[in-house]
Amino acid sequence: MSAGPGNGTSLSQKPVPFAANPGVRLKVEQASYAYQATDRSAPKFTLGPASFEAEQRELVAILGPNASGKSTLLKLLAGLLKPLSGRVELDGSEVSALHLRTRAQRIALVQQESELLFPLRVWEYVLQGRYPYGRRLRFESEEDCLLAGNALAQVGADALRDRWMDRLSGGEKQRVILARALAQQPALLLLDEPTQHLDIGGKVELLRRLRRMADENRYTVIVVTHELNLAAEFADRIVLLHKGKSLRIGTPGEVYERQLLEEVFEAPLEVELRTSGRPRVILGSSH
């Protein structure tokens, strides 16, 4: 685990050989990004260089207030954006240089779902996760169906298989979207604010499930979230972003400092340590 801008590098430098640490799966080295001023669809925003590593079975939470660069960082990790400087490597390969299908076999990104144009059954939706494994005009094999079925079972959505996507509740839909990502059999699972439309029970259940998946399936899971306490409870590492800068990277205990969190989130907060050794954030009295 390396944090902050201390281990500086530039594009001209040769990549550090990944074999040096066989446990490391995702390696982010001084990766930065800036939206161009001409890009009207995006705000003028710069993500300063960020460096961290994540191993198999690790759950990393990216935290920060709105417009701190969380989603931009996630897009860099997904290979959807090419870093302006630095590198993002998955198992030694630069993710933005991977072939589209190869990338989809190794990285699954769960975003807020967009509106479906035509109704679709749950199993049809989950089977789409097998797309990266076929040729251009592909027909699903029995193995694809089996894997899609397993993915549904893994998120506890077996019973939803024949339901229509547009008739599901928020929590059910979230599980099905996760199942499609699992059907991709990725090494790296990225989730952009997956708890946004869930009630507290749904949030805890989702994080617990992600934790179990990371442990059992040896996924590396990266979650962008606003849920400070859930992140403290379930994540191994925290990346704290503020105004495009990665302020601190470390275990929840290392990152959750009262003064730091108050500065970042601009709210009176208190941090207490639970008996489990993990911190908890509560609303403090206003100054």
């Binding site: 589209l100 975003q111 679709l120 089977l127 789409q128 298989r161």
Partner: protein
């Protein structure tokens, strides 16, 4: 879980082909000169077996000289328009996308008229002009229909409807000032009509149709994913820009092809893909072939009605499709609003 298999596609397409054959035989029977079904079947069999000398010259003229070429034209135009509609609905992410409603057919018609003015005697110039017209209008509507970098459904439809009305006005202007030079007249370009045989050999048009359908079919799996969102499709490994370019060019070609020989026939691209979705599901691997065959069936039926319901006068076939298509458009629009 019952994923789509090639066998199911062949089976359903085969059944629709049988239905198309039935409709063609019935269409051959209908008209001013009465021919019994038995005679039609015998005549078709004799022609297929190469025994033309056993066919009476009257039957041959009515069936092979008059009715069959027109039916072949209806199959070509119907198949092209329905497939273009299915393609544009995915490309523009809008269930109400139809070459006619969005003004793409009017663009093709204007392109064809202009090409007739510029190079009246060149073979294939109408088709080339119609393709350029359709492609230019599609690009215009696509960019006018965007808000904040994203396609916006109501904006897109408004942009299409306004483009259609503007282009229709331009067609009327051109049709009026050039009357006498253009043999087809404004009703052909504005409403569509299959009464005039094309100036180019049908087999070339069929060749272009089949190649284009083949091209668009290669994107069928990708289109299924694009329907759930372009971003998602990209994450799943779809080369979205390539697919959009293929569908854009193929859709414009199909629209141009149909309009160049049949005029701006409306609503086939809306009516047929939606009917096929209701019958067989939304999977584009099945939707593309069923739309192509379904479009052929619908237009053969519509054209047969157009030439027989008020006989001896003929209606433009576009009037028949609009009578059926406009209520469907309103139904789909209201369902969407809810």
């Amino acid at each position: 879980m019952r994923p789509l298999t090639p066998r199911r596609i062949v089976l359903i397409s085969g059944l629709l082909c049988v239905a198309l054959f039935g409709v063609v035989v019935l269409a051959l029977r209908m008209g001013a000169y009465p021919i019994s079904l038995r005679d039609i079947v015998f005549t078709l069999c004799r022609e297929a077996l190469g025994r033309r000398d056993e066919i009476s010259s009257e039957f041959w003229l009515v069936i092979f000289g008059l009715r069959l070429p027109r039916i072949a034209l209806a199959i070509l135009v119907g198949g092209a328009l329905a497939t273009a509609g299915a393609g544009f609905q995915a490309l523009l992410r809008n269930p109400l996308a139809d070459p006619y409603v969005l003004g793409l057919s009017s663009g093709a018609a204007l392109g064809a008229m202009l090409s007739l003015v510029l190079a009246p005697h060149t073979v294939g110039v109408i088709q080339a002009g119609a393709f350029v017209g359709a492609a230019a209008t599609t690009a215009t509507v696509y960019f006018l229909g965007r808000r904040g970098g994203q396609l916006d459904s109501p904006t897109l439809l408004l942009a299409g409807i306004i483009s259609a009305s503007f282009l229709s006005a331009a067609i009327m202007f051109l049709g009026t000032t050039l009357s006498g030079r253009d043999q087809r007249g404004m009703v052909f370009w504005l409403m569509g009509d299959l009464a005039t045989p094309p100036s180019i050999d049908l087999k070339w048009l069929y060749f272009v149709l089949l190649v284009t359908l083949g091209c668009i079919y290669t994107t069928a799996s990708d289109l299924n994913l694009i329907l759930t969102g372009e971003q998602e499709a990209r994450h799943l490994g779809v080369n979205v820009n390539r697919v959009k370019m293929v569908v854009y060019v193929a859709g414009s070609l199909l629209t141009g092809l149909a309009v160049s020989v049949g005029g701006a026939i409306g609503y086939v691209g809306l009516l047929v893909p939606h009917t096929m979705r209701m019958l067989f599901g939304t999977d584009y691997r099945l939707l593309i072939p069923t739309s192509a065959i379904g479009g052929a069936i619908i237009l053969v039926v519509a054209d047969t009605l157009a030439r027989t319901v008020v006989a001896p006068t003929e209606l433009p076939v576009g009037a028949m499709t609009a009578l059926a298509g406009a209520p469907v458009f309103i139904y789909l629009m209201r369902r969407r609003v809810r």
